[in-house]
Symmetry: C2
Subunit: 126 residues, 2 copies
């Protein structure tokens, strides 16, 4: 059963990006399902459940992030995907990371799984 | 076991886009694993195996497609994701469709699964 409209999924993505830029940990966690999962980047260990997800983002938000969407959010069925750029000051230099994230939503519109696809080729000094 | 380098996965994506633009059905099919799957768009029935994949792309290539990457290819572990735009003349008008595709690769570097994430909001008259 799919109760997620493209508009609703796009709105969650926009809230997610705004919360990353605001450094608002609780706003991010509130977007996830209780048993949600985060695999960021793909191939790394999966963070499962809100406590693990909170700990993961707390670490990410220890750095000030400047996050911008790159192109339109794609949304269909229970999934949304979006390309974006994260700029941060890391190990003494300005760095840009360009992931594509895929969110899968549960029936209530919470993020059931998040997978971030990016590798070393998608990281650069700026 | 992951034998896929980012460079190799990116090269497959570039060959895929070139084959779409060339209307080269066999070049596309050659990128897929024997038991590969295509779900395009996500939420629609999955095409499984080379015969079904060939039939799916034969239908897509009945229209002349103009495909351009939008931004860098993301690749990590066994997966690649990329945003792109497909321009075509459809039902009497110029149309643009903007998917994000996610490829998962098998150990030999063939596409094991392809999932295209886009919805009506990602289709527009041009």
């Amino acid at each position: 059963m799919n109760n997620n409209t493209a508009q609703a999924m796009e709105a969650v993505v926009r809230r997610y990006i705004a919360a990353l830029n605001a450094g608002d940990l609780e706003a991010i966690v509130a977007l996830y399902a209780e048993d949600g999962t985060v695999e960021d980047p793909v191939g790394s260990p999966v963070h499962r459940g809100l406590a693990a997800i909170r700990a993961f983002y707390a670490q990410s938000l220890a750095l000030k992030l400047d996050v911008t969407l790159e192109g339109p959010i794609r949304a269909a069925a229970n999934e949304a995907a979006f390309a974006f750029c994260v700029r941060l000051h890391w190990q003494g230099r300005n760095t840009a990371i360009r992931p594509i994230d895929v969110f899968r939503f549960d029936e209530s519109g919470k993020i059931q799984s998040m997978r971030a696809i990016f590798g070393p080729n998608n990281m650069s000094a700026e």
